[in-house]
Each structure stands twice: as structure tokens, then as C-alpha cells.
Amino acid sequence: MVKYLFQRVLYMIITLFIVVSVTFFLMKLIPGTPFNNWEKLSDTQRHILLVKYGFDQPVPVQYVHYMVNMLKGDLGVSFQFNNTPVTELLAQRVGPSAVLGAQALIVGALLGIVLGVIAALKQNTWVDYGATFIAVIGKSIPNFVFAGLLQFYIAVKLGWLPVMFWNGPTYTILPTIALAMFPISIAARFMRTEMVEVLGSDYITLAKAKGASYWEISIKHALRNALIPVITVMGPLAVSLMTGSLVIEDIFGIPGIGDQFVKSIMTNDYPVIMGTSILFAALFVFIILVVDILYGIIDPRIRISGGKAK
């Protein structure tokens, strides 16, 4: 286990190193300039700017410089936001993203599980078909399309909820729903499959033979056993929420990391793009690691050596 963990952490670091390097060199390849009014500046002014940000040095030197600074926790300064350090800029924005992600994951998992259980208990009735339909819709429709439609019908037409921005709990409802649709559908499908399998097993027949009530069988015997494998899909879902939040935050004007990423792309703000990419990659790798370890702990049947990270 310790050896495995060590190996995984090593891969994690290699992955991160590659992401950082690739990001760095890609940034150097991007045409265009991050500075405003570049064309209007005189050559001396341009030179001053380049020296100030270290762009006059050869790329390998810049690379080493960046890597050393990164290890010290310094990701450079933003070009667009008055030279604010990137780490500071991102730190301000972690909060809303974390709140939104956590809410979407909890809502998605709970609703998905409930939907899946109901579908399995009422197997092959219209309730089941309805739940499957919702799952297919949630899995198929891109979350930003869904977000746009929610914004239009719920917020603009009906006026029940705020259209956008981030000023309190009511503002979080629509983005949470938009983001939670995917987890709901995945959790519901997975839960239904597991539940149907468990309901057909011998120990459920035994429980019925013993005279246990419908609810006792459903909750105590079936649900508890079906839940175990479902926990394992939560990790990939958390990862998908991270990427989903990119555009959802942009749509709803939420001051989170995803919104920052999209804005930086629009303004060629290289240090912020890099910092955000690194942050995303780090979170991503970390979640995959945690999920893989949890697999082993939660379900001993999944041997770590054979467990597929998905």
C-alpha cells in the first residue's frame, strides 16, 4: 500500500511537471501580445515592458525562472489586473467555485441516488422510464445549453430566481442545478443498475422469506449494499464538475476560478492562464489519486493493482 501510494504520488508530480512545462511553452507559442496598446508604444517603451516582465531573456532561462518561482509559490503577476500576483487573484476566487462545486456534487449525488433507487424499486413502470429519461437528458444536454435555457425560462420569463451574479444563497440555485444535471444522471443510472442487481440477489429473497417488510428490505438490505459502488463514481463526477464550472461560472457571472480562466483567455493574460491551468491540473490529479485510494478502502474486492483509474 505504501509503495503503491509512493508510486502514485510520483506519477502525480511527473504529470504536474509535464502540464506546467507544456503550458509554459504553449504560452510562448501563442501569437499576439498581452499588453494593451502594444502598437502605439515606442520601441523604448516596449523594451521597458519586456525587461520588467523578464521577456527579454531567452525562453529556457524564463522557463527555469518560472519553475523556481513556482516551487516558491509565486506564479507571477497578472498583466490585466494591475500586477496583482496570480496566487492572490486565484485565492480570492476559490471560495465561490468551491461552494458551487460542493453544492452541485451534493445535490447531484443525493437526487441521483434517490432517482436511481425509485427507478429500481418501480422497475419497468412509467416511473422507471421517467427516471431513465431524465438521466438521458441530463447526460446528453451540454450544461451550458441547459444553463442558458434555465436562465431564460426560470429567471427571465418567470422571474423566480436571480438571472446572474453571486450575492447570496438564492443566486446559487440556478448554477447549482445547471451543474448538477450531469452528476444526477450519472448517479441515477449507476444506482439503478446496482440496485436492480442487489434486488435480484439471494439475500433479498431470504429477507423476503423471513417476512421483512417492503421498506425494511428496500432500505436496510438493498440500498445499503447498492450504495457502496456508487460512492466510487463520485470522484470522476467531482472532476467533471471542475471542468463544467468553467463555462457555468462564465454564464452566471460567478467570480470563481473558471470565470477567471475564460476571462484570461480572452485577454491573453498568460500568467493567469498558466496559474489557473496548473491549479486545475493539480486539483484534477489530486482528486484522481484520492478516488483511487478510496476505491481500495471502500470496496476490498477492487484490488489496487487491478483497479482502473477512470
Partner: protein, 342 residues
Amino acid sequence: MINKEPVISNDMFAPAHIDPSKSEKIAKPSLNFWQDSWLRVRKNKGAVISLVVIVILLILSFVGPLITPYKFDTQNTDNHDLPPRIQGLEHIHWLPFDGALTRKDGTSYNAYEARHVKQYYWFGTDELGRDIFARLWKGTQVSLFIAFMAALVDMLIGVTYGAVSGYIGGRTDSIMQRILEVIVGIPNLVVAVLMILVLKPGIVPIIIAITFTSWTSMARVVRAQVLKFKNQEFVLAARTLGASNSSIIFKHMIPNMFGVIIINTMFSIPNAIFFEAFLSFIGLGLQEPKASLGTLVNEGYKQMLAFPYQMIIPSIMIALIMICFNLVADGLRDALDPKMRD
């Protein structure tokens, strides 16, 4: 309750006639893999209907731009932002094809009459007066093209990588798997965004950006299959007969894993559509006047408050396509996956 003893006499029985010539008779018609799979897919109504819808949409994506008098990139700024109006359907008041627009105060008026426009724009026009009907089908065509190409490239890279890795095995396999693990660890959307930034938006860069990270699942599945087949008798037989490594992989192994390859490809199509739409939506998609479903949703989204139809029409299209592809992929998985056989 009294149990009656049923009376069973000997004359109720007759010796069964056994015809030795028929004992080996095959009662079920012999079906090859594809016929058998088709039988299974056919049972799944959702998948069949979705397949039909996809075929219709595919045909319409080519025919659609031809049946309207307007071209997808012709601007007519006099006729900008006109709502949908269709001959005949305009008099059915509950259908949204009467050319009516809603003002901010909730009252509605006929935009065509107010602006003295004689033409009919079936799905309306956008802010530059381009026909949305033509743009929608053109966009569908482009999105589907990107998705199919991405899926094809995924398949080629994934199958080759997986087959080589699994077949050679040993240290090569181990190194290739480590590389794969690193690529899987990179957040795909972030990489795609960075690739587009470097390559400049366009159809080919989008396909490259999508395939850069998405071939990995195919490679894994194919590798697992190759490992499974590697030590089986038919491979040994082929090798004994002197077949080369590449012919063993491509002639003997790959045909045996068509099922999983097809399933995986079918799932990568909606995935690619999503990716393309996502990139377009954050402004990294195709550039004007080209259209894809993602750029159409994005353009429509900006006009959502005043002209909601501009967002709703492409949204419905993208949702429809995604649902259909997902249902077909699910149906195929149920039909082709040997584990799901009854």
C-alpha cells in the same frame, strides 16, 4: 381441503420418437456477429428511433441549406433579428412561427408587418440578418463533421496504441502505459483550450484539440482486449502458420474486438460534439461567418433577452443530436457487449 389423488394411467404415455438424424439439427438460424447484433439493437426502440433521427438530421444538414432561398453567410442587415415565420403555420396561433416578437412590457407585435418584410425566414434571422435555418443546418453539418473526424482519429490512434502496447508487452507496454497515465491525468478541457490558443481556431485545430486527450479510453480498452486474446489458441495457430505480427493484430485480433471499438467510438462522437460546442461557447470555436452548433448557441445566448428564438433553436438541435447519439451508443453497448448477453 381434500387433496384429490390425480389418476395417472399408463395409456396416457407414449414413447418419444427419437430421430437420430435430427439430433444434430440446428434449430436457430445461424447468424453472424452483425446479424446477431442487429437483432439485439432492433429490440431497443429508443436506439432505433435515434438512429433514424440521426440519419434524417445528417441528410437534412446537407439538404437543409439548399431548400431555403438564403445562404448561411449572406448578410441582409435590413432584415436583422426577425423571428421565425413559416408559410401556412403562421396562422396557427399556438405555434411560435407567426413572426411575433414580445416587447419588454409583455405585449407582442408582428415584426414582419412592423418592418414591412415580405420574405419568410423559417427560423428567423440573426443580428446580421443571416437566415438561421440555413445557418442551423450548416452548423449541424460542421459539428457532425468535427465529431465524426474526431471519433475516427480517436479510433485510429487508440486502437494502434492499445494494440501495440498490449501485443509487445514487457517494458514497452509498461512505458506506454505510464505515458498514458500521465496524459489521462491532464485536465482535457484545459489542454484543449491551450491548444486552440496556440493553433488559432478552425476545424482542424478543434479536431486536434479534441483528440489530444480523448483517445486514451480507446487505447485502454483495446489493450485489455489484446491482452485477453494474446494467449488464445487462434493467435497461436496464426503464429504457427507464420503470420506476421501486424497481420495477427489487424487480421485476427482487431476483427474480434469490433464490438468494443464501435461502442467506444459511438461514445466519443457525442463527447466530441460537446467539446466543440464548449470551445465555441467560450469563444474559441469557428470564426465568423462559419457556423457550428456551439457558435450558434453562443451567438444566440448573447441575444437571449430580446430574441430568445436565436438561442432556443440551436439549443434544441444540439440537445436532440446529443440525446440521439447517447441512446444509440447505449443501445449498441447493450447489444454488442458480450457481458450483457442473455
